[in-house]
Symmetry: D2
Subunit: 437 residues, 4 copies
């Protein structure tokens, strides 16, 4: 029944840019080799459970609009089973390798700790079976520590240690499940780790507790032999007024403070980047510079709307700039492109789920081709190298010399006593150059 939902659709295949088939890839050719790697290995696409299989199409101002068959089962357990089957079937139809989940996405509801754990364990058993059946893999798992009312004041940053312990329970089980399912990463998104008002908040206590949980997670990961990366996903606001994991540099500050900068990386989401006042590519470039680039949540925001709209990426231009930074960062190791994106509330048909993902996948695939062409062309990087050439010259070396002091550097200017030569930054030319590809 639920599985039948996607039965009318064939597996999505590459047909090339000239195809007029709405249900084909025009740019994503998984076996095409780009810069020495197959596209599938470069991009490591994943479909998420929450937006695509759990969300009913509701928003703050209205009820769900989607009539997914797996939402209509006779009881919660049956609905959860149907949802898992539908999800993995869909991922196979898209012919992308990965999926992602929160614990509560894949399981039947349960209130007490014992039932919660057993319900989740059953779900994991089923997922393992479905992974085999459909030939799909897990990009990452994560525990949902924000939807249940118990988390209204945070999980690791909750004033109540009982809530903290619940969170630890979920994280342990989900990390172990991720390990068992062969997940490539484990993600922590601090959904309500932040505050609504400073008036009732002790930032100091909350951040110490948050840091402690992260340390325990890292320690547990090593204990159980999980080889995947631990990832934190930055977000500046929403649902709380202020989220502690504001952006990549804030996360880095946090990691440094707790000595975890070599243990934890970031999962960067495009829409979170723009909500924090940065471009998508900035966040990737900064993560690269700080050595903490991990994975990507591929979606886009709406520049006119001040909340997380989680739309499928459709700008090749913007994604190309992000892709250049990903390539510079060496590409993904354990990470990938997870579609943390949802079809619009009016896009109520099964076919819309395909259009959303196909559009996003093709946008990113095309951006990869453009970015690779730009990098292989070399002019962009050559200009950048030339721009900083002075640092390889005499003055640059004198400044970088270990024995240099403020006074010795100041003396360089006094001795030279001339105006530095102004050089154009060539922004317009560089923008034109990028547009050429």
């Amino acid at each position: 029944m639920s599985a039948d939902y996607f039965a009318p659709f064939d597996t999505i295949r590459f047909e090339g840019p000239e195809s007029t088939n709405d249900l084909a890839y025009r740019w994503y050719d998984k076996d095409r080799v780009v810069m020495g790697k197959r596209m599938e290995e470069h991009l490591r696409f994943a479909v998420c459970f929450w937006h695509t299989f759990c969300w009913p199409g509701s928003d703050v101002f209205g009820a769900g609009t989607f009539n997914r068959p797996w939402h209509a089962g006779p009881n919660d357990a049956a609905r959860a089973t149907a949802k898992r089957e539908a999800a993995l079937a869909f991922v196979e139809k898209l012919d992308v390798p990965f999926y992602c989940f929160h614990d509560v996405d894949v399981m039947a509801d349960a209130e007490d700790a014992g039932s919660f754990r057993s319900s989740f364990a059953e779900a994991v058993d089923h997922l393992e079976e479905l992974q085999g059946k459909h030939g799909r893999q897990l990009l990452w798992g994560t525990a949902n520590l924000f939807s249940h009312p118990r988390y209204m004041a945070g999980a690791a940053t909750n004033p109540d240690p009982e809530v903290y312990a619940w969170a630890a329970m979920q994280v342990r089980d989900c990390l172990e499940a991720t390990h068992r399912l062969g997940g490539a990463n484990y993600v922590l998104w601090g959904g309500r780790e932040g505050y609504d008002t400073l008036l009732n908040t002790e930032i100091g206590i909350e951040q110490e507790n948050f840091g402690r949980l992260l340390s325990l997670v890292v320690e547990h990961k090593h204990r159980i032999g999980f080889k995947g990366a631990i990832l934190i996903e930055p977000k500046p606001h929403e649902p709380t007024k202020h989220q502690y994991d504001f952006d990549t540099q804030t996360v880095y500050a946090f990691l440094k403070r707790f000595g975890l900068e070599n243990e934890v990386k970031v999962n960067i989401e495009a829409n979170h980047a723009t909500l924090s006042g940065h471009t998508f590519e900035h966040e990737i470039a900064m993560a690269r510079a700080l050595g903490i680039f991990g994975s990507i949540d591929a979606n886009r925001g709406d520049p006119q709307n001040g909340w997380d709209t989680d739309q499928f990426p459709n700008s090749v231009e913007e994604t190309t700039l992000a892709m250049i930074e990903i390539i510079r960062a060496g590409g993904f190791t354990t990470g990938g492109f997870n579609f943390d994106a949802k079809v619009r509330r009016q896009s109520i048909d099964a076919t819309d789920l395909f259009h959303g993902h196909i559009g996003g996948i093709d946008t990113i695939a095309r951006a990869l081709l453009r970015a690779a062409a730009i990098i292989e062309d070399g002019q962009l990087d050559a200009f950048r190298q030339e721009r900083y050439a002075g640092w390889r010259g005499e003055t640059g070396k004198a400044i970088h010399a270990p024995e240099a002091t403020l006074a010795s550097v100041a003396e360089l200017a006094i001795q030279a006593n001339r105006a530095p030569e102004p050089r154009s930054g060539r922004q317009e030319w560089l923008e034109n150059l990028v547009n050429r590809f």
Copy 2:
């Protein structure tokens, strides 16, 4: 002539809330003791050179509107001298203890290194004399590393090491001048330390160079025996698209990375806070939590305008929230409230300069009284303490125990196997409580 500009004005005195004199303080009573300290010592007000004495009232869309007599001198040297005299006379008229300057604010223009240094040296001599004459002190000095065309691509982050050396020269001289003038702090605002486009920028190189300069400055400070604090002023955007010192946590990340977190603090500006997506009080609270709270640039932005409007603070409500955090941080040590604020372009008269500063000073003074009353009342802090009381109980201690693991914490939840008790966050009650004072 220039000095005469303020001659019609008497020294501004405290006359109490009922006064209808526009040129009197209604709340700032410098000798009134609040929480054990005189108001003057609490607030440590400073007037800035740049907005109040250098800026002619121009903006991007129009020419200067102010006809200050010190802008009309026969030559640049005469204008600089008149400006310094006017400035210190004004600070005395306001009866606040401090002023602040950029090197180029106080001196005659000069293009080559030698003339630049001697012009600045003359200015410093004169300032020293004026400090004595008017009985005023220097809160902080700073080098302007952003206005001259040579800095169009940054100072410490410039691709050209010659520019870097110029910056080092200015910083050394200005730090030494600040030391000689008895300045309480030395500030670095990275005006153009950032980028306009990632296409021409190597973040990695730029940040390494920036970190290096900061290390050299710290080392030089100790070498010359300067006891004041070195302060970085965060700002997210403007003039560049992205400024490296985005906000307090970004600065902390930077300091941690270069091992400078115990050597450098932040100078927080209210308008920069809001432009970076934070409240003013957030930035102070975060600096306190990270141990890097230094000083304040007191101004406000316009919530409808996306640039730095640098207006005088006029909200007692908002400033009270900031003041609570300052008191919690232990108040200022070397820092103070510098008015990095400018009268509006239409406020062309000498009296407007007084109204701007008087309004700002009274707003902050009144906020101090309210904040002190709230803290002395104790209900706010008592609620916060009670909210986190669980962490002093059994579960909290078990989580914090050095031997705790993710598994041991998870087991706490499994053993308890009950829903944590939901407790109201009481935001509305807390807001009402604050409004009571």
Copy 3:
């Protein structure tokens, strides 16, 4: 049972600024006469059904946190009855005169047209009885044309005329019910009148249809003899990407286009104002200038969050500026202050509902006192009058003369041939003046 929820609370009474009773008014003294009118008549407070009695404390990222007894009844009809009883009991406890509702807020769910109408009719009967029992009145009614999935693409702007007819049915019934219940106004908020993407939208058709519905509503109002005002509530975004009723001037353009500017007014919401790039007071001032000021939705946004946070007003300073404009507009005739505000998701107790409303009411009452004092003082208005005095002089009259032409006005400048005298705008002095009260 539901009614018992508020039994522990006494009716809220005025106790004056010195009271330390959290459940008393400190500024709202309903019988106090301000500028010739009782406070209760000035402010005309209303409590809304939706946020306070319908919303369970859910958000996009999590489930409801409130355990209101009226949400736990055995069936939908019982729950609706209990909700109505609780609501009117609460309004009486607050001792404010009005309440507001959407049709679906007060009734049991129903899918087909017949049951929908009869369910609503029963609810209206009950409300009429409760109004009498509790001595409360209806400030305004409105039809919810956005929550049901049928409205996902709009109501009056839906591409499907069947949906439009449904909307007309709801509006007719709700307008007639409002009339019968003695409502002072009828409101239209175009919750989904807008678009998510221009790609599938014909603005021309949608706006024509929207204008037509409004015309039909106005005609029907006169037909049934409803004397209250018809009000449109502007909002720029959310839930749709772009809402047609963007702000007051956009609504005015719309009204003018369909010849309705003398028939329809605006219901201005503070948070919608700020989301559209304006201050709250701007929207009121503009509505006054255009002759369409109607009523107020009293809430506030969060300046750091880009969505409608609908918080209770707690800034006396901001509300004072709005109140000055309301007084200038002549105060309310049929309008009032409706609390379209919700307690925070963590504020889960009955007492929090009281704190939210008491805080909002006192904030507004205090703002009224300040605004009245400022206006009675007269300096603010005198300055404004003086500033435009030139328009009452010779040059002003010559420009305003009916026979003036561009050439004749140009000649005034040529003849005078002198620089106009610059005059300070005195913004800082005016801000200080306002802070004095």
Copy 4:
């Protein structure tokens, strides 16, 4: 000398997408026929004086960085002459048909009315000669009513009628000059028509005066026989806190109020659109729906920066969406694409001026080709038509019938008594469709 500045550059020619010549058009092929019109006629490109020839590369935080030879002449008159020569020479080198100017851009400074007028008159004589020499035309002229200190409180909305008269003088002369030079339009941008604070502002008086000036301008246009369009350029903020011409709908409200909606159109700027909370294409679509679409200022903003960055357009994707709306509006009649864009402050070379314009021109030309292909393909418009098909059916006709009432429309729903059929909005499919071209 100044003319020599561009001597090293050949006239820019179309060389096709494969060209690697940085100084050639890759998409703008002026004689290529698209949808029945030559590209040159479609796009009607214009170069502006102010950003490209007047601005020295300064910003609020720093001095000019450009060393244009025409800024270095011996006196103001010589500099103005050289600037005019350089400008028209540059426009010819770009091989685009039009230029635009403010009065003060093209003339030597002058303080009194007589000298101002004669200086401008001389400039106009020279421009007429240069137009002939270089074979270029004027897209539009405009008077700068915002840069001079006299306009600090507005021009038409100034509290001082003497300033108003000055403005009228400039507008009359500039309108007549535009007429004489064969200009296709006359533009009014209300640079400081707005307010910094409501505290000192009477919106009512200011808007009445503004409306009056516009009426006088329209009357004068007809009097002198000027056949071009009068255009208002909306902008929401900056330099003032609030600008009266906030956006297209606000301008429409204003025009309707003063009965000018058939006389005046809008000149839409992309960056102003986004600052006002709209997309560029929204503003065009809205102007089309209201019948006031006139012309375009082609630039882009920076989504992370809250001020007018005035960058050259470089997004083909975004411009395509705007171009679709322009084509739907019937294309330009008198209007065109004016580059109200400036090279970055670091782009200091003559060649950067070419790169900026070439990039912008190619971006727009390519967008035209894509938009034309999308419209000629027809799927997008077919989907839209089908989406609204119901309005051509029975229910739609019944609603639109002149005799329809709210009651008769409501009865349609009651009679049908069934749930309207939900239909997908297909946003993702439409986005994919657009990306296909």
